[in-house]
């Protein structure tokens, strides 16, 4: 019986639970003995000219080794002349967001760093700041005057064709905000660097060591082989640690300038304003359909807030565009997008990266359409979901959905939730005039994983003379349990027990080529690479065994239960893996694979959220959350469930609690963890997960990616539930996060207009 698909507890855990993991700040290694500490001085203004920096007081403070500003960066490649939007390492002349690094203070101890940083005197001449994309798009306040505009990567038609909507019985037009959030991995950004002659080792908390190496090499103007990146344990990434940003490049630079090891760990307050943010889109949408529930036309014209520097903004907008039609068969789909720069923290990938936004908007719109035509939102979905017999399905945006059972997923969730009983309870409370009302919200979603499939992933497996297996993977865990999953794959294919499998990642010397972990790609590229390595090793072993046992290779049998080979019919004579590694001689028993799938894959599902709303205060309580997230066959159900739980929690948090808010001057007002409402266990119920495994034909194991699916499905289900709770009062929409005050305002407005209507 295969170990695949069984519930295996993680081999990573004992270490994490007893001695603790080793994150960058935990490193106590000889190369970092006596390392100096880096503390950044950051801009307190959203937009300003730097008119002077006086470091003299700081330089004289106790324990200060050096104070650097942009003027000291004379040994790095200049910003590309043809890119007026280039992001500098330390701000020079202009700061464009609160939190932008302006100077760095290097000290003997951490505490001295905080002390000395306060003494760096920066003179600023404030400039007008633009914070909202709707303002920034007017190009009245420019972040980069040389560029002449704040708009980046405009995409889509100049003019939209209105004809398809004119043919519809019902047309709905809305503007939705998918609010800016902060990723808040529990481990903040952290890095350390030490040079040895011409070569630097950088320890960094990131999601892809090889790309990180390229970024650092490029930033310093050295060849990539002069940089070794070692990623120890990472305390969460969620997209915010894809590659590294200027703060980490500067750490490597400072170590070179000082010829001394340095290390850096930001504070949480710094992280909330200086680590990239997520989401931040504004959608103008139009939906046209008929009263029979059929959606005929959908238009989304949206702006991606890029923040002050356009890092991956255009990519995010592209993902939203690709997934805009979502799970529905819609005859006409019109999409336009642009990235708009604002005087805020740069926006990057955050769990879902462009896909939650696409789904949240269309799921909201479907519910509004349902309310408009007086049809149950589940029924409207059924009438528009891509039917099971239409796969593979080519979308209007050119993607090919591999496999899906959208209607079945929805129906299973409705059944598990007890939809009819929930509607009855909702009605009962309304009829009784209960101040605490019930809301039921749905979402159907499809998501794209491994969208960067051409990059593939690398794997290398080496069988040791002791019969163990060492796996080198380009995948890059931040908690996803790859060591366990890849060991399961090896055990399944080769019969080497998991406790004899070691998985290595994150060291560019050991793994020079690799892509990393994001976009829910790892299992279907990295895991498959390991799988393919195992298959290759099996074939090599077959040849070796055949030669040794003087038999036809086709007669060799691998018994995975014992991890040994024998000739068919001669079970008494066995060869184990240790022996085969020996037989492989100098060459060793190894395999290298760079697996590049031919296409991305499309997990899908449905969520249902049940909320209780206190109509006197607007307080929302999530009572139940039922989800079905189908990512194909499950290699390890425990790990898949954990990914879904975490994703759901983040999705719920965006719907009800989290927002990275700025005031009109560009000051972040939720700038520490007390004010930024990341939720605890007390805010959530236990979740109800349903299992469905619809395979893909893209890879031999039929697997898709699960990491971001929960987030994508959860947010709209919860937002829809809140609105549904108040639909009897005439509320049709509430923006996210649906805080108590927002909900209370919506109730008031609805009651107010009710009163006015009655008069």
């Amino acid at each position: 019986m295969s170990v695949l698909g069984t519930r295996v507890v993680r081999i990573e855990d004992p270490r994490l639970l007893t001695t603790g993991a080793t994150y960058v700040d935990d490193l106590r290694i000889p190369q970092l003995a006596g390392a100096a500490f880096v503390t950044y001085v950051r801009s307190p203004l959203a937009h300003a000219r730097i008119t002077g920096i006086d470091v003299s007081a700081a330089a004289e403070a106790p324990g200060v080794v050096a104070v650097f500003t942009a003027n000291d960066l004379d040994d790095v490649p200049p910003p590309p002349a043809d890119n007026p939007l280039a992001e500098p390492l330390l701000a020079k002349d202009v700061v464009r967001y609160v939190g932008e690094p302006v100077a760095m203070v290097i000290t003997e101890t951490r505490a001295q760093g905080e002390d000395a940083a306060e003494l760096v005197a920066v003179d600023y001449e404030p400039l007008p700041a633009v914070v909202d994309v709707e303002e920034a798009v007017k190009d009245e306040v420019l972040l980069f005057p040389e560029a002449g505009t704040n708009i980046v990567a405009p995409n889509g038609p100049e003019e939209f064709d209105d004809a398809p909507f004119e043919a519809c019985e019902v047309v709905i037009e809305r503007t939705f905000r998918n609010q800016r959030v902060a990723p808040v991995p529990m481990e903040v950004r952290s890095a350390a660097a030490a040079w040895d002659g011409e070569r630097v080792t950088v320890w960094s908390s990131n999601q892809n060591a090889q790309t990180t190496r390229a970024i650092i090499a490029g930033g310093l103007g050295v060849e990539p082989d002069k940089v070794r990146v070692i990623t120890p344990d990472v305390g969460g990434g969620f997209g915010a640690k894809i590659g590294v940003d200027r703060d980490t490049v500067l750490v490597a630079w400072a170590a070179r300038r000082l010829n001394r090891a340095v290390r850096w760990t930001e504070t949480r307050s710094e992280s909330l304003i200086a680590m990239q943010h997520g989401r931040a889109q504004v959608h103008k949408v139009k939906l046209g359909g008929n009263r029979d529930g059929k959606i005929l036309a959908y238009r989304i014209d949206f702006m991606q807030d890029g923040g002050a520097y356009p890092r991956v903004g255009p990519l995010l907008a592209n993902f939203t565009t690709l997934m805009a039609p979502a799970v529905y068969e819609i005859p006409t789909v019109q999409i336009r997008s642009k990235v708009v720069l604002t005087n805020t923290t740069p926006v990057g990938a955050y769990r879902g990266a462009g896909r939650p936004e696409a789904t949240a908007t269309i799921e909201r719109l479907v519910d509004i359409f349902a309310a408009e035509i007086g049809m149950d939102p589940a029924e409207v979905r059924r009438r528009n979901l891509i039917p099971a017999d239409k796969f593979p399905y080519t979308t209007p945006t050119g993607l090919v959905y591999d496999s899906g059972e959208y209607v079945k997923a929805l129906d299973r969730v409705l059944e598990a939730a007890g939809y009819a009983e929930l509607r009855a309870e909702q009605e009962r409370r309304r009829a009784a005039g209960d101040t605490k009302v019930l809301g039921i919200g749905l979402s159907s979603y499809v998501e794209v994983t491994a969208l960067d499939f051409p990059n593939g992933e690398t794997g290398r497996v080496v069988i040791g003379r002791d019969g163990s297996a060492t796996v080198y993977t380009g995948s890059h865990t931040q908690g996803q349990g790859h060591a366990t999953s890849w060991a399961m794959i090896v055990q399944d294919q080769l019969g080497i027990p998991m406790d004899k499998v070691t998985v290595i990642h994150g060291d560019t010397d050991a793994i020079p080529v690799g892509t990393g972990t994001y976009a829910s790609r790892s299992l279907q590229v990295g895991g498959i690479a390991v799988h393919e390595c195992a298959v290759k090793i099996k074939e090599k072993a077959r040849e070796l065994a055949a030669r040794e046992l003087e038999a036809d290779p086709n007669d060799l049998v691998l018994d995975t239960a014992t991890g040994s080979w024998h000739v068919q019919g001669v079970p008494g004579t066995k060869l184990d893996w240790a022996r085969l590694a020996e037989l492989a001689g100098e060459e060793g028993l190894t395999a290298d694979v760079h697996f590049k799938p031919s296409r991305p894959t499309f997990p899908f599902g449905a969520h249902l959220a049940v909320v209780e709303v206190d109509t006197e205060t607007g307080q929302v309580r999530l009572l139940r959350h039922i989800s079905l997230d189908d990512a194909g066959p499950l290699i390890n159900p425990i790990i898949a469930e954990g990914q879904r739980h975490g994703g759901i929690a983040q999705g719920v948090a965006q719907a009800l609690y989290e927002e990275m808010a700025y005031d009109a001057e560009g000051n972040p007002i939720t700038a520490n963890l007390a004010d930024y409402p990341m939720i605890s266990a007390a805010e959530l119920p236990s979740f109800e997960l349903l299992t469905m495994e619809t395979p893909t034909d893209v890879n031999p194991l039929g697997v898709k990616g699960i990491g971001e699916a929960g987030t994508i499905g959860a947010t709209p289900a919860v937002q829809n539930a809140v609105v549904d709770a108040l639909s009897h009062l005439g509320v049709r929409h509430i923006e996210m996060p649906a805080t108590p005050e927002r909900v209370w305002k919506a109730i008031n407005e609805a009651r107010g207009s009710e009163k006015r209507a009655a008069q």
């Binding site: 905080e114 205060t617 007002i669 409402p677 605890s680 007390a682 805010e683 805080t739 108590p740 005050e741």
Partner: protein, 272 residues
């Protein structure tokens, strides 16, 4: 993350604490549980030059039945208030409210004296001692004095304590009217109250409805003149200026106050 440099002194007795405070004057602050002061110091919003640690004065940690009142040592921790059977029986409002402060870790350190001296209008205990009409006992260089809770909270983070004075005891009269309620409205469980209401009989203390903790005097007057709970509660925000901040607008706070006062009075009535 790391406080500015300071000198740490530890007091072995109340007298020594007062002496040390007197020695350093305005440069010194008392450190009890540290969960009001240290968070401010870590963000460098407070930078006292000297901390006088009074956290070891165990003889200031007690809960005693004194017949007509309960005497609570100022260094009694929130955890001890929340797990005291005596308080559960005699002062359930205080018992319950203490159990909602922060989280379990915070409650293992924070003290009633520290919370009250901090005089944060968003704190739970000031509103509670107002509703319970407690008397606060302070000791300083010129001896001991008693301060009614209603005179203790002067302004934003400003108490009636003179420099060099520390709280030693909180005396809470056993209430004649036994009905009580504590309505604490938060977004997340761990948050400070957006608005809170402490009810003991017909006495109502308000959390976060202005610069300092106050009684809902307009409501109390309405009740005294025979108004129904529903009508009296409408006056919850009268004469008050709650803040507008990242957590809530003033208008919303006023609305919450009206709803929570009504619910608090109804619950207290049901418990009476």
């Amino acid at each position: 993350m790391i406080p500015a440099t300071f000198t740490y002194r530890r007091a072995e007795s109340v007298d020594e604490a007062i002496e040390l405070a007197g020695q350093y004057g305005e440069d010194a602050k008392f450190l009890a549980g540290g969960h009001s002061l240290l968070p401010l110091m870590k963000l460098r919003l407070a930078q006292p030059e000297v901390l006088v640690d009074i956290g070891r004065l165990r003889d200031l940690s007690y809960i005693r039945d004194q017949g007509d009142h309960v005497a609570i040592g100022a260094l009694t921790r929130h955890h001890d208030l929340a797990t005291s059977e005596l308080l559960a029986e005699q002062l359930p409002l205080l018992h319950h409210a203490a159990g909602t402060i922060g989280d379990p870790q915070v409650r293992h350190r924070g003290t009633i004296g520290g919370s009250l001296a901090h005089a944060d209008p968003a704190g739970d205990l000031p509103a509670v001692v107002l509703a319970l009409e407690a008397t606060l006992v302070a000791r300083g260089p010129s001896g001991s004095r008693e301060i009614p809770a209603t005179e203790f909270f002067r302004g934003l983070f400003e108490s009636a304590l003179e420099p060099g004075e520390l709280l030693t005891e909180i005396r809470v009269p056993k209430p004649a009217a036994r009905g009580w309620s504590f309505q604490k409205f938060t977004k997340r469980a761990i948050d400070w109250a957006i608005v809170g209401v402490a009810v003991q009989g017909d006495r109502i203390g308000l959390v976060n409805m202005g610069e300092k903790p106050v009684r809902a005097t307009a409501v109390e007057q309405a009740l005294a003149s025979g108004a129904s709970i529903r009508d009296a509660a409408e006056h919850a925000a009268d004469g008050l200026s709650p803040a507008s901040d990242v957590h809530a607008s003033a208008e919303y706070r006023a609305q919450l106050a009206r709803v929570l006062v009504r619910r608090g009075l109804e619950e207290a009535r049901a418990r009476a």
